[in-house]
Symmetry: C2
C-alpha cells in the first residue's frame, strides 16, 4: 500500500524542466528530510500521517485517470520524497495507457524504476535547508536513471546557497539545470491557503536573475514558481 | 547592412521554449506584419525607422560579445520579423565562438539559415492579430529548419484565437507547442515604460490555463510572459 497525501489536478507544473505542462500531481506522504523552509509540510510532518490515504497502485492510477478524464498527460510524482515508496506499478500501469511520469526527489534514495521516468528531477538541497547532501547516494540516483531524461533543480535562498549551487551543478555538467528562488513564506502543515509575501517573492526572483547574470553564469534556466505567482500558498492547485 | 532596433542583455528569455534562459536580445527593425496588439511597435512602425541603427554583421556580434562579457550564451534574434534580413553571417560568427541562436518569427518568410538555429520558434498569428496565415509559406519555414529544433508558440487573446490555435497546432503534431496569453496593454512605439494591467494579465493567464485544462488539451505548455510579470512594459530588459 502507498501512503498518499493528495492527488489533484489537472493543473500546470509550476516550476522546473516541464514548467507550464498540464499535469496531475500525486503527492506521496513521508520524507527522509525536513527542510527548514519546506513548502509541503503536510506531506512530511509525521503528525499529519493520519491524514494520508493508504491506496494500492491501481487505486492511485484510477484517480489520476479520473481527474484527467482518461486523456494521457504527464503525471507529477511529488512529496515528501516519493522515492521512499515503490511507484513502479503505478508507472507501469500509466505508461501502458500512454501517460508519462515525472518525479522530483532530493536524490537521497535511488530506485531502479527511475529509468522509467520522463524526466527524473533531482533537487539537491542547499545549506539553507539544514541538510547535507550525500553525493554517493545522489550519484546512485543519476546512475539509476540511466538513459531516462534527468535534470537538476536547485532552490536558492541566499548567497551561500548560490555559491553551493554553482559547485553542485559543476559536478553534473551533462545535466540540464534549473535554479529558482525559494518561497520564504511557506505555509505551515495546517494551512490550506496561507498568506504569501508576493512582493518579496518577486524581489527574490529578480535578485536571483541579477546575481546569476552579473556572474556570467549562463547555463541554468532561472525560473519562478508559477503556481505561487498565480495561487499563492493555496493547496490543491 | 542590418537594421537593428536594439541589442540588450544579458537578461532572461521571458517566454516559450527557452523560458528562463540567460540571453542577449538582438531586435531587428522592420516587419511584414502589423499585429493589432504588437508589443514591439518601435521595431515595426516605419515612422520609427530613423531610430534603427545600421550595423554590419561583425558589429552586431561584437555588441553581443561585449554585453555577454565574452561568455557564450543563447542569443535571441527577435523583431519585428528578423527573417526579413540576412542574419546568416551573425549566426556563423557567433557559432564559431560557442554562442547559440534562437530566432522567433511569424513564419511568413523562409530562410536557408533557419537550419542553423537552436531553436527556430515559429509563432503563427491568430485572428485577433488582424493577419491571415499563409500556410504554404509557413510550411516552407518548417522545411527550411530541417533537423534544427523547431517549436510552435501561439499567443491567445480570446475564444476565437483559442479555437484557431488548436487547429493550427493540429497541423504540426510533431512540433513542441507553447501557448501564452497576450499582453492586452502593450506599449505604444514611443513609450519606454508604459503602464501595464498586471491584474488583467494574471487573470488572462489563469483564464487560459482553466480553459485549456477543462478542454483536456494537454499537449501545449501554458506559459506567461515572465518579463512582463517582472518588468511590466519596460524596454531593454
Amino acid at each position: 500500500m502507498l501512503r498518499i497525501t493528495e492527488i489533484f489536478g489537472p493543473t500546470i507544473q509550476g516550476e522546473g524542466a516541464v514548467i507550464g505542462a498540464p499535469t496531475v500531481f500525486v503527492r506521496a506522504g513521508g520524507c527522509d528530510y525536513r527542510c527548514s523552509w519546506c513548502d509541503s509540510l503536510h506531506a512530511v510532518d509525521t503528525e499529519h500521517r493520519h491524514t494520508w490515504a493508504k491506496m494500492d497502485s491501481a487505486d492511485v492510477f484510477a484517480e489520476v485517470e479520473r481527474l484527467s478524464g482518461g486523456t494521457p498527460l504527464t503525471v507529477s510524482l511529488s512529496g515528501g520524497n516519493p522515492a521512499i515508496q515503490d511507484f513502479s506499478d503505478v508507472i507501469a500501469l500509466g505508461k501502458s495507457k500512454g501517460y508519462d511520469f515525472a518525479l522530483e526527489t532530493q536524490g537521497s534514495i535511488a530506485r531502479e524504476w527511475f529509468s522509467e521516468l520522463a524526466p527524473l528531477i533531482l533537487s539537491p538541497k542547499p545549506p539553507s535547508s539544514g541538510h547535507v547532501v550525500d553525493w554517493d547516494k545522489f550519484d546512485a540516483c543519476v546512475k539509476a536513471a540511466g538513459e531516462a531524461e534527468t535534470v537538476l533543480k536547485i532552490v536558492i535562498f541566499d548567497d551561500t546557497d548560490y555559491a553551493w549551487a554553482k559547485d553542485a551543478a559543476a559536478r553534473y555538467p551533462q545535466l540540464p539545470l534549473y535554479i529558482q528562488p525559494g518561497n520564504h513564506t511557506p505555509p505551515s502543515a495546517d494551512e490550506d491557503d496561507a498568506a504569501v509575501d508576493m512582493d518579496g517573492i518577486m524581489d527574490r526572483y529578480e535578485w536571483l536573475i541579477d546575481k546569476t547574470l552579473a556572474d556570467k553564469w549562463y547555463s541554468p534556466k532561472i525560473l519562478p514558481q508559477l503556481h505561487v505567482l498565480i495561487w499563492g500558498n493555496k493547496r490543491g492547485v
